[in-house]
């Protein structure tokens, strides 16, 4: 088993943290994992992306051209990565910010009104968890409780008070796919 999972969006949308959380959960599940960020000269703003590779055997390259899963948080990320998702892959799109839909027939296309759902939960910053919850429901790389345990263990101290809302957001994302 080997899956590459790309997270991409604006700086400040929690793109990096969503990827790290998946990486922590994978590590705790005894899998091999790499997390690698894009890094640019700017401190704030701009687009940010990270790539998580999860495998049950040693991982070679932490970067790939065609990830099997892509979670795009905004329009520019959609435009850049929609064509690159591997055939048969999964594309999760934050439809609150991306009005366009994919026309590709060879991938699973999931649209989640993530920023809107997060806003209803009280904080638009939770959109990252909504998207992660949806992605892991569409492609169960790891069970959601594993992500919740990773949140328990790794949510930064300053965001500790948001533990419950983060878990709610994960569940809300999952619900988008499970509810009729």
């Amino acid at each position: 088993m080997k899956v590459e999972c790309l997270f991409s969006g604006f700086g400040g949308q929690g793109v990096m943290f969503a990827g790290q959380l998946l990486a922590y959960a994978a590590m705790d599940a005894g899998l091999d994992v790499t997390w690698i960020p894009s890094y640019g000269p700017e401190m704030r703003g701009g687009t940010a992306h990270c790539l998580v590779v999860i495998a049950d055997h040693p991982i070679g390259s932490p970067v790939v051209m065609h990830p099997q899963v892509a979670i795009v948080f905004n329009g520019p990320s959609f435009d850049k990565y929609e064509p690159l998702v591997a055939a048969g892959g999964l594309l999760v799109v934050n439809s609150s910010l991306v009005p366009r839909s994919s026309t590709r027939a060879n991938l699973t296309h999931v649209r989640v009104d993530a920023t809107q759902i997060a806003s209803q939960l009280g904080d638009t910053h939770l959109a990252n968890m909504v998207l992660l919850g949806a992605a892991l429901t569409a492609r169960p790389l790891l069970p959601l409780p594993a992500i919740e345990r990773a949140l328990d263990a790794h949510l930064p101290e300053r965001h500790r008070h948001l533990l419950a809302p983060n878990k709610q957001a994960l569940a809300a994302g999952a619900e988008v796919l499970t509810s009729p």
Binding site: M27, P62, V63, V64, H66
Partner: protein, 355 residues
């Protein structure tokens, strides 16, 4: 110790702390600044020395001074900063001082960019600064290896009283992977007999690389060369994958080696007899192993994130027995496994053409 999800830069910093590093001097430069930032909090916590220098030049000379007193000293930088350190490195090497330098290579030449690169292979392995010597150069490809090689770097530096470079790139520095840190070792209380500690109850100690008489300078050089011979005999390190029945050998170090691993895996899945040799020491280059492997191969393919630098060492080791081909990206471009696979397939196809 349990595995933690660690970023390369932080892992190296903490590994150095646990290896008993007593003094760190550095200057901010992307993509290794996190290493410096981490140590700025961590070293004082343990009562050890952290100092942000006014330049890479000053930083390496501070390391030179600290190393003279027999403490475990280190600095870290990235390519343009490594260029600036050349002067101090030459003095340190000529003075038989142990010290560790981390170079997180980035795209160049010139100011270049901050993306991962392996463009400093020549600058690190051929010498460091003026004069006639080589540092020991270790090339980790993963966070765990970065930790292990940081420890190894201090061990080798002291064992041989020699300069050791930890040569990685921005990708190893920025990547997070599960890895295990060693326990915190106690800092050595004793200073070596040669160290500058004040001439109390003994004659004075002098540390100098000045030998005005050419006869003496030649003797100093012979001493260094004799040490390098021992290092070359004892310290060649490499790892390999699927080489047993391979006909094409892919050779890459650090990040390029790791990407090549993915490509070799994919080539094997297609039934191609391809193997990988990943040098872990760039100096000494694992020429003994490569020379043996070359006997069973029909050709080899060198993969680097530069225009072809390690390939010169490969050619020397292979000594014309088999064709040596090259695939590289430059300027901070990281090759993708698919691209390397294509290069493998092309090289492999040439075997058939020869028959």
């Amino acid at each position: 110790m349990p595995k933690e999800l660690l970023k390369g830069n932080i892992a190296i910093a903490e590994a150095a702390v646990r290896a008993g590093m007593q003094a760190y001097f550095g200057y901010p430069i992307t993509p290794q600044t996190e290493l410096l930032e981490y140590l700025s909090a961590r070293m004082p916590e343990l009562g050890r020395t952290f100092l942000q220098a006014e330049s890479e030049i000053a930083a390496i000379h501070m390391v030179y001074g600290a190393a003279c007193t027999g403490v475990r000293a280190m600095t870290s930088t990235s390519s343009p900063g490594y260029s600036l350190m050349q002067e101090g490195l030459s003095y340190i090497a000529a003075s038989d001082l142990p010290c560790v330098v981390v170079n997180m290579m980035r795209g160049g030449p010139g100011l270049g960019n901050i993306q991962p690169s392996q463009g400093d292979y020549f600058q690190m392995t051929r010498s460091a600064g003026h004069g006639d010597y080589h540092p020991i150069v270790l090339a980790p490809a993963s966070v765990q290896e970065a930790i292990d090689f940081t420890l190894l770097a201090f061990t080798l530096a002291e064992q041989y009283r020699h300069l050791v470079i930890l040569a990685a790139d921005g990708q190893v520095g920025q990547m997070m992977e599960p890895a295990e840190l060693p326990p915190l070792l106690p800092v050595a209380e004793e200073r070596p007999v040669w160290a500058l500690t004040g001439a109390r109850g003994r004659g004075k100690n002098i540390i100098s690389s000045l030998h005005l008489r050419a006869e003496e300078e030649e003797i100093a050089n012979q001493r260094i060369q004799a040490r390098l011979l021992t290092i070359c005999a004892n310290e060649q390190r490499s790892t390999e994958y699927a080489t047993d029945d391979a006909e094409l050998l892919v050779i890459g170090f650090g990040t390029a080696g790791r990407i090549a691993y993915s490509a070799v895996e994919a080539a094997r899945a297609k039934g191609l007899k391809v193997g990988l040799l990943r040098p872990q020491t760039l100096y000494p280059f694992p020429e003994d192993r490569l020379s043996r492997l070359a006997r069973q191969m029909r050709s080899c393919l060198v993969v680097e994130m530069n225009a072809g630098q390690m390939i010169e060492d490969v050619r020397l080791a292979v000594a014309g027995r088999i064709p040596v081909r090259f695939y590289g990206r430059m300027g901070g471009m990281v090759p993708m496994p698919d691209d390397v696979l294509t290069a493998i397939e092309e090289a492999y196809a040439l075997h058939a053409a020869v028959v």
